[in-house]
Structure formats: structure tokens, C-alpha cells
Subunit: 185 residues, 2 copies
DNA sequence: CGGCGATATGTACGCTTGTACGTATGACGC
DNA sequence: GCGTCATACGTACAAGCGTACATATCGCCG
């Protein structure tokens, strides 16, 4: 009785490329860019190694697409929250929700963002991604605030998120609200 | 006539361990943690590969010491600038100088900091480093501001630095001053 | 329904990595 | 002076990497 070798039955998997990009994001969040390899992504998506080289020209290409997807997702939430606000007061509250719920809600997005920053420091293509993302955030804020305020507020958001993430005791929503209102007062 | 093989004459190099840690920081800044290897550090410090395994138990140990050194250096400057200020007005100006000159002055320190953040996300030992650093910064700010203000201001500084670093057009000292004073007003 | 081109798969190769370890050497205490 | 031991050095090795490529498979169009 030979061992029942589990031959891989998988075939005809449309959208596999997208699933691979998604799997790559998961691996980056869990192991970091440093621990993100063709083999690790393939394992996460349950596809053979060869599938990676078929769908992507290089590992850098996978990373670029994954980070682009991440930035786009975060920017979209940012825009939705802010476009739902009807006045500066609601906009301020939207920012608080954004930080405490969306950005600090799960460690995953946070880790991905910092990983992107590091990667962007050395890859011009990724720097374009971060810059486009920053521009979208600022534009969303400018629906409610003047350009200078928008830029400064965007920086404050960044700082609040990062600081809370690194801290042993993250700032509570009330503390975040206090900081935002103090700045906008 | 045999080729004059350049035998390595180096011997008896007290303080080599420290030089290696310093060299590691240079490599991290230039190639990132991902590109930081025993061989790369050894090359940067002009020592043989074997010297690495003699002085350090593992590569992680080198990274930990290097990042600790970096955090300490930045925190020290932070403390010096703020302890030199005599009143909140001077303290505010010290913060502006800190951000525009010390933190944004050279890309090196900035890259090292973000690399540290990423590494700390996965290494508890490094998280202790970032937390100790943050505590020192806050304590320095508390010489001039109440605890809440200190914490919020610290976050704002973080955001201003990161945002300027990622942006195509970094904020000018005047713009930074505007943001700081607006928050403290 | 037949074949062909896009997609999927397994494997091999050359390279770099972290680390271990045997040997060499010279500074320093006696 | 001399022996000893911390320090320094060169090299070897197994593991894991990105990537290339020959082969297999099957949806789709004629």
C-alpha cells in the first residue's frame, strides 16, 4: 500500500495573479519584506513555486503591486470617511475615527505601512506610491480645511498613528480626539 | 617573482567591536536591514568575516547593538536641545531646530529610524529600545510642557519628520515653525 | 471536435547567506 | 624571556534564495 501522495489537483485558476498579490500582502504583514520570498507567497496562496515566475517577472514586481494595492485601499477608506463628513466638525470626528478604528484597528495595516516606508526609501517606484497616497490624503482633507491646515493635520495623523503603534499604552480615542481638536481649535 | 599577495597585516585592534557596530549602522543606512549581512559589515569595517562571529553571537545581536546606539544618539541630542531652552518659547524653537536640522538634516538618521521601527515590529528587544527612546523624548519635553502636551507634541514631531521625509517638497523650517506654534498656541 | 496557445507545474542551477571551527599570532603577566 | 590565552583569521558547509526552463494540461475558438 503506497502512501496516498496528495497530487495537486489545482488547474484553471482565473484570478490567481490577484490572489498571489493578496497573499503577498499577508506574508509581508506577517514576516516582513525581508521574510517575503517566492516560496513563502506560493505557500500562503497554496500554489506551486513555478506559478510565481509565470505570473511575475520578479519578486520586486510582486512587492510593488502588493504595496500599491495596500496604499490604494487605505486611501480609499480615508476618502470615504472624509467625503461623508458635512462640516469641519464632522471632518474632525472622521479623522479621529480614521486613526483609532481604521489605522490603529488592526496591526496588519500598520505594519504594511511602515514596511512600505522602508521599501520606498530605496525604490523610486514605491516612493511614487507613497507620494500618490499622501497627495490623495491631503486632497481629501482639503475638502474641509485650507491647504496648510490639511498638510499639517495629515502630518499629525501620521504621528499619532505611529506613536500609538509603538507605545506600550496606545492613546485612547478620547486622547486622540483631544489632540485633533487642540490642533484644529 | 611571485605576485605580492597583500596579506592582511591587521592585528591587535582594540575597540574593534565598537567599530563593527558603527560600521553596521552605516550599512543599515545604505542598504537597509535586508541588505545588512556579516560580510557587508566586515567589508565596511575592513575586517575579515571571521571577526564577526568572534565578536557577536549572531547577526541579530549586531543589529540590536547598532539600533540601541542610534536611538541613544538621537535621544541625547533631543535632551541637549531641550535642556538648553529656558522657557516654553525657546523650547518651541528648540523643537523646530530639532526637526529641521537634526532629524531632517541628513537622510541617514531618518532611514535608520524607520528601519528600526520595522525591525521593532518583530523583535521585542528592539521594541524595548524604541519605547525607552520615546520615554526619554517625552521626559525631555515635560521639562517645559505638561504631560498631555508633551505626548501630543512628540507625536506631532514624529509626523512632521516622517511626512517631510516622504514628501517631494519637504516642509521648510518656517512651515515647521508654523505647525509647532499652531499646536502650542 | 481538434489543435493550439495560454496557463500551470516541478525541478534544477548558481549564488549568497549565517554560522562553525581549526589554526595562527602576539600582548601581557610572571 | 617565555608561555599562555584572548583575539584574529581563513575557510568550509548546509540551507535557502531568485530565477530559468522543459514539460504537462486544458479552455476556447475555428
Amino acid at each position: 500500500m503506497s502512501a496516498p501522495v496528495p497530487r495537486r489537483p489545482r488547474r484553471h485558476d482565473p484570478g490567481r495573479r490577484e490572489r498571489l498579490v493578496e497573499a503577498a500582502l499577508g506574508v509581508i504583514a506577517e514576516r516582513g519584506v525581508a521574510g517575503t520570498t517566492h516560496r513563502e507567497i506560493a505557500r500562503a496562496a497554496d500554489v506551486p513555486l513555478g506559478s510565481m515566475t509565470y505570473h511575475f517577472a520578479s519578486l520586486d514586481e510582486v512587492l510593488a503591486e502588493a504595496f500599491t494595492r495596500h496604499a490604494d485601499a487605505v486611501a480609499r477608506v480615508f476618502e470615504e470617511r472624509l467625503s461623508a463628513a458635512r462640516d469641519p466638525e464632522e471632518a474632525a470626528e472622521a479623522v479621529v475615527t480614521l486613526v483609532s478604528d481604521d489605522l490603529l484597528g488592526s496591526p496588519r495595516g500598520l505594519v504594511l505601512t511602515v514596511e512600505l516606508y522602508v521599501a520606498a526609501a530605496r525604490d523610486p517606484a514605491l516612493r511614487a506610491v507613497t507620494q500618490g497616497w499622501m497627495a490623495r490624503s491631503r486632497r481629501a482633507l482639503e475638502r474641509h480645511f485650507d491647504a496648510t491646515t490639511a498638510r499639517e493635520l495629515d502630518a499629525l495623523i501620521e504621528g499619532l498613528v505611529l506613536h500609538s503603534a509603538l507605545s506600550t499604552d496606545p492613546m485612547s480615542p478620547a486622547q486622540l480626539r483631544h489632540a485633533v481638536h487642540r490642533f484644529l481649535r
